[in-house]
Structures are given as C-alpha cells and as structure tokens.
Amino acid sequence: MKLFRSIRFNIILGALIALLSAVGTFLPQTSTSPDKVEFYRLLHPLGFKILNFFGAFNLYQTWWFMGLLGLMAFDIIICKLWNKPPDISATALPPENTNEEEIEKHWSQREEALRLKPFQSSMDSSLAFDEAFTKARAFFERAGYAVHDEFHSPAGAAFLATKHRLQRWGSYIAHIALVVILIGAFINALYGFVEMAPVMEGTTVAMKRRPWTLSVDKFTVHFYHGTFQPSLFSSVLRVKAGDKLIGAKTIRVNHPLDIHGVRFYQASWGAAGMFRSVTLNLAGSFLTLRQRVPKKVPGSPFSVEADVLMPDFTVANGHADTASLDLKNPAVRFLFSIEGKPTPPLWLFALYPKVCLKENPDGTLLHAEAPPFSLVSVDPVLFSGIQVAYDPGYPWVVTGVLLWVLGLVLLFYFHRRRFWALLEPGQNGKTKISIGAWSSRGGRDFEKEFNRLTGEMKSHLDFK
C-alpha cells in the first residue's frame, strides 16, 4: 500500500505508460494498419515472432497494457485519498477549532501561528474594538470574501475570510474525472463493439453483433474538380430488424445515424471490381459494354468483352493487382476475339489513354503498342464502408470529460485565498489588527494583491 501511495511510483508508472505508448507508435498496429503488420512479418520474420509474443503489434489492447492503465487508475485513487497536497493554510489560528480548550491554547500561540503565514501585516486602527471588528468583517465581505469561524474572547477576537474555496476540490475532481474516463474506456472494451460493414450500392448485408440488416440504396461520391480527392460521400441507409424498419438516414462523414446507442458511420468507400458499364472509343465511335457481356464491334470481325476492373491498378509479382479500393488508377481488362478466336487480353487505363498492357496466358504483363482505341469512362459499382459502433461507456466518458474540464479550470484558473484577522484592544481605545494570509496564487502576484487589500483596509478602518 505504501508503494501505491507514493507519488514517485505513480510518476514512474505514468512514464512507463508514456514510453510503451511511444514504442507502439513506431510499430505497425493490427487495429489500424493490418497490411503493414503483415509486411513487417515478411520483412523480419524473427523480430516479428519476438515482438508478437509480447503483443507489440496489438500493444494497446494487450492485457498488460490494459493492466498498467488499470493500475494507474487504482493508484490515482489511492494517491488522492492518502496524500494531501502541501497546504500552508493548514496551520491553524484560533478560529479554526471548535473545541474551547484548543482555541484558548491556539490563542496563546497566535503570534507564532501568524508568523508562519506567508504574508503578514499589522495595523493600528483608531476605531474602538467592536466597531473595528464589524468594519473589518464588512470590509472582507465587500471584497467578495466569505467570513466564517468567528471567535471572540476577552483577550480579543479573530475571524477567517476565504475566497474561491472550491479551488481546493479542483485537484480531486480532475483526478476522479480521469478515473471515470478510464472506467468508460473499460466498459467500452468489455461491452462495446466496432464492426465494419462494406455494403455494395443497392444491396443488403446482415450485421454480426445485432440481428439487423443494413441496406444502402444509393451511394454518392463527389470529387474536387480534376482530382480523385473526394469532397463528399454519403449513403442512403436503411436499417431493419427483421421486417421492421428501425432507422433510415443519409449518412456522411461526421453525420452518423444513431439507433439506441448503436451508431452507423460513413467511414470509407471504394470500388471492388464490379462496374455497371464501360465506354470504349473505337476510332471515333463509342461502344458501351456491361460487365462480362461480349459485344460485337459494328462493322468489323471483332467482338469485345470487359471482364475485370482494378480500381487502383498496380503490378504485383508481374501480375495485375489493385493497390487499394480507391479509384486512383482504374484499369479494365478487355478480351477481344476475331471471329470467335480469342486474342491475348489487354488492360486499358481510364487516366492514361496511351498506355496498354498485354496479359500473357500465365498472367504476366507486357507493354503493348498503343491500340487504336481507348477507355473513355468507367461506371463502377461502389461499396459504402459503414462502421457500426456501440459504446456503452459513452455517458461515462462524457461525464469524465466534463468533470476534467471543471476540475482543471477550478484547479488552475481560480486561486484560493485565506485571510486570518486577529483583533486586540490596544491602548487609548485603539485596536491592533494583525492580518495573515495564504493563497494558492504564486507569491509575487499575491503579494501585490495582499498589499493592495491591506492598504485599502487600513484606510477603510481609519476612516471615522
């Protein structure tokens, strides 16, 4: 227990978590980039084995990383319960005790107690004792202070004036907030889910984690002029439980659909190799083909068929492949036959009309002469990448976030101030007033405020 109570241990724990998180950013993570993890496995088979044993490619989801976070949360609670921040205000002057005897004891040590306050000042008021006391009290109240713990004795009187006492709780609130956020994260890890559902336009798929079906009736994507940078993509989405429609919305990025806490996000989109039609330019005349439907070229012995679409054409191991599902470099394979006799398939590119690749029977590719025809346009069937997420920790996280903001604002942007005032009857009906003060505000800044306030008080109390 002693170990967990030590702040040093907590700081070391925090440093360890920071260090491990940093390591994780330099290694590909399965959750964000599985392809890179695979690449790493091929590149360094041994290193991969060792690192994978420790879960380094799934670092943030490993039991030991989760354990460290949990330990940290536990530790924060322990630390907060046992350790009070150093608080000079704790040295008591008479007003802070209810026990009569204690008060008398403190009263006799008042000079010493006052000396321990970081800021002190004393003044003589020409007012009589009672009037001075009332006026001093009223002065602090007018300055926005709460006056409490009044104390009267034959030897004199004292009171405590405070401002922004809530500041003290800022630290507690902020730390509780962290724990609440972590609880939210754990609830999410245990009961929440994230499911990717690629849905082809016009089709319906079933969800894995809920007995629901998703239908994308229409998928739209707009591009910035002259680029393949999408400016907007959206899906007309319907969600059904059995035959019953439970939600429908045109979703786009930043605008999800929410059904009882399950949210449907427009996450990505792509082309998967299907298309509705392609258009060829054959020496000036256009020919539109549907996928895998051969067509005769009018006025010639040829027939042509378009069968495969690669949305982001690349060559891998000498074969045609696609680098991604984005429409970055669409290419279509055409099969020509002359009077029923097939010729080698040709790849044509929508973006590069001068390029043509010939495919050998074994699938390898060769550059071919630019043919007298070109690919004009492709109308691909797109799929909408819908991410379904359920996060039962959501209210916890939101509460935690709000508490965090509240706690930090209280802790750092407000300053607690405490003024102790001791009044003793002096000679000739005058009153001696001693002031001690403490503030969470730094020394120099509070010094100015202290001097200003005591100065004002002085002139206030001498005024008859």
Partner: protein, 359 residues
C-alpha cells in the same frame, strides 16, 4: 544671462577642505547667496563635491568673479585657487551634465549623485533660489542623467562587494521584499551588508553571533531579529540568503547542515555569501543543487570586471553629453535672441523595465 559654475571636488581638493564645505548648513549658504545678489542659483553639496551653479548676477557684474569671491566668503581665505574649478557658458552646462551622469564621480556612473542633484535642485527651487533658466537647465540635466544611464553601460554593474552581493541576490530571487536573510557574525562587514539589504526592503533579517550581545546591538539598529547561535542550522530551512563574516577559524556552516536543510526547502534557491577569512562556509556546498555560494574573491572579481566595463562606456556617455550640451546651448542662444524653442523630448525617458521592476 551667462551660466557659471564654481566648485571643488575630490579631483581638485583635499578631503579636509571638502569636509569643511560639506559641514556648511544649507540655509546659511542660501542666505549668503541671496546676500551676494546672485539669483537663479543651485548649489550642490555632497561629501565629494561642493559647487554652485548660477546664471543671474546683478547688472554689470562678472559672474565668475562673483562666484570666486563668494567661495572665499564662505570659509575664509584658506582655500587656494588651485582647489577650485570654474566654468562658464557651454562648459558649465557640460559640467553639470557630466556630474548628473556620474562621469565626474569617484565611481564612474554611480547613481547616487543623480538623486543628490535632483534633491539639491528641488530644495533650491523651494527656497526660491532658482529662476526660469535654472529650472529648465536642471530638469534637462536630470533627464540627461537618466538617459545616459539607460542608454549606455555606464551604470551597469555594482562597484562594491556588498552591492554586488545584493545584485546577485536579486538575480536569484528578483524582488527581495519577500526574502529572508540570515547574517552570521556581527562585525563591521556584517553591518555594511545589512545596510545594503535594508535598502532593498528585505523583510526578515536574522542575526546570529557567537556572543549574543553584539548581535543584539546590531539587531536594534536594523529592526532585525536575533537567532541563537546553535539554531543557525535549522534556520537554513527558512532563509533565502546567508551572509557570513565571522572570525571563526573553523567553518560555521557545514555541507551536512545545508544538505539537511535542502530537504525542506522545496527547491527554493539558497544564496550564500562568505566574506570571512578564513572561510566560514564549506566550499563543497557550492556543488549542491539550488545553492549558490560566493566567496569574497568572487565578489571582488565581479567588482573589478564591472569597473572595467563602466570605463569602456565613458566615450559613449560623452557623446550623448556633447550633443545635449549643444542642444542646451542652442536653446540658451535662442533665448538670448528672444526666440522660444522647445526640446524635442521633454518627457522623461523610461527606465529599463527589469531594473525598475527590481526597485
């Protein structure tokens, strides 16, 4: 309407003679000035100089001559002419600017003289000694004195061991009005140090000495508190500055004591000055974090450096004085011809911010 200055200073006169002038009562001098029918006059009396500026003489009188006779009058005939200097016209103006800027001082660039000039002028003004020219002349001189100090390095760096120590303390703690000081030893050096600290409003000064009586005597003079000699180790936890100048043959502050106190200081800096011979504070203490130990020779080294630095700035200061002398002479000339001209910058120059914040 000619400006004339006559006076003597540490450069021209022996100490014994200067003392005689320094002892003259102000009101007496003022009375004599009025009696000599000199108007628009200011006199400046410090332990290093005594001089009279004047520009109003009764009709036909020769200003320099009047002032010379006036000096003889003041303390009898026992001052020879070699002890005096006498300038008139723009030379007199240049001399005033030099004095105000601290160029004519024993320690070049010292700031005290500017205050003395200001005070003397204001006193003379209240006495009704000054006139239009004198007023403007002295206000200009005060302005130039500040300008020279803020625009050249002539006043940069303290020139005594005690003031260097105070300045270093300010470089560590900033404003000393929150700092507490522990003085070990109650000898003459301790007293000088405390006097310098007192000007910086250090609120809490603790004096500790092996023989308590001497500490108490010193404490009475400076509103300081006396700390029992055995408690000095514990006091290290609280204080910010330690000044040690005891005659002890053994170190009176050991590394062990300081190390123990550091645990409770929460990282606040501790500045220690050891001006005792043999040393009072163990040298290894300097290697501790947050502790800065300066020995006498370190402070002396800094003083020497500062004096070198000031000397190097003299020519720059002279340039400013030359151009300002020109301006004032122009103005005087115009005044004589009945034209009114005003100075370009009549406002006071801002003092350097960090400096003023420290004061």
């Amino acid at each position: 309407m000619q400006i004339v200055v006559a006076g003597l200073s540490h450069k021209t006169a022996e100490l014994a003679l200067r003392e005689k002038f320094a002892l003259l009562a102000r009101s007496e001098v003022a009375r004599k000035i009025k009696a000599a029918q000199v108007s628009d006059a200011v006199f400046l009396s410090t332990c290093n100089r005594f001089e009279i500026y004047a520009c109003g003489f009764s009709n036909g009188a020769d200003g320099p001559d009047v002032l010379l006779r006036f000096f003889e009058d003041l303390i009898g005939k026992n001052s020879s002419k070699e002890d005096l200097y006498l300038y008139s016209g723009s030379e007199a103006v240049a001399h005033l600017l030099k004095v105000a800027s601290g160029l004519d001082s024993l320690v070049v660039g010292e700031t005290e003289i500017l205050g003395q000039v200001k005070e003397s002028y204001e006193w003379a003004k209240n006495e009704g000694l000054t006139g239009k020219i004198g007023n403007i002349l002295f206000q200009r001189a005060l302005y130039v004195g500040k300008k020279v100090r803020s625009e050249t390095g002539i006043s940069v760096g303290q020139t005594s061991v005690a003031s260097v120590a105070v300045e270093l303390a300010q470089s560590i703690f900033g404003n000393l009005s929150e700092s507490s000081v522990l003085v070990l030893g109650a000898g003459q050096m301790a007293e000088i140090m405390i006097r310098h600290l007192a000007t910086q409003k250090a609120p809490k000064i603790l004096i500790s000495n092996r023989t308590r009586e001497r500490a108490e005597a010193l404490a009475r003079n400076f509103k300081a508190a006396v700390l029992p000699w055995e408690n000095r180790g514990e006091a290290l936890q609280e204080v910010d500055i330690v000044l040690s100048s005891t005659g002890s043959p053994e170190p009176v502050v050991t590394k062990e004591m300081v190390e123990k106190s550091l645990k409770n200081r929460r990282g606040r800096s501790l500045f220690m000055v050891d001006i005792a011979m043999p040393r009072d504070i163990e040298e290894e203490i300097h290697s501790l974090e947050h502790v800065y130990l300066y020995r006498l020779e370190d402070l002396e080294h800094i003083v020497a450096k500062n004096l070198e630095g000031r000397a190097a700035e003299i020519s720059k200061a002279k340039e400013i004085i030359e151009s300002k002398t020109g301006e004032i002479s122009e103005w005087l000339k115009a005044l004589k011809e009945g034209r009114e001209v005003s100075f370009k910058h009549s406002s006071r120059p801002k003092m350097p911010r960090t400096e003023s914040a420290r004061k």
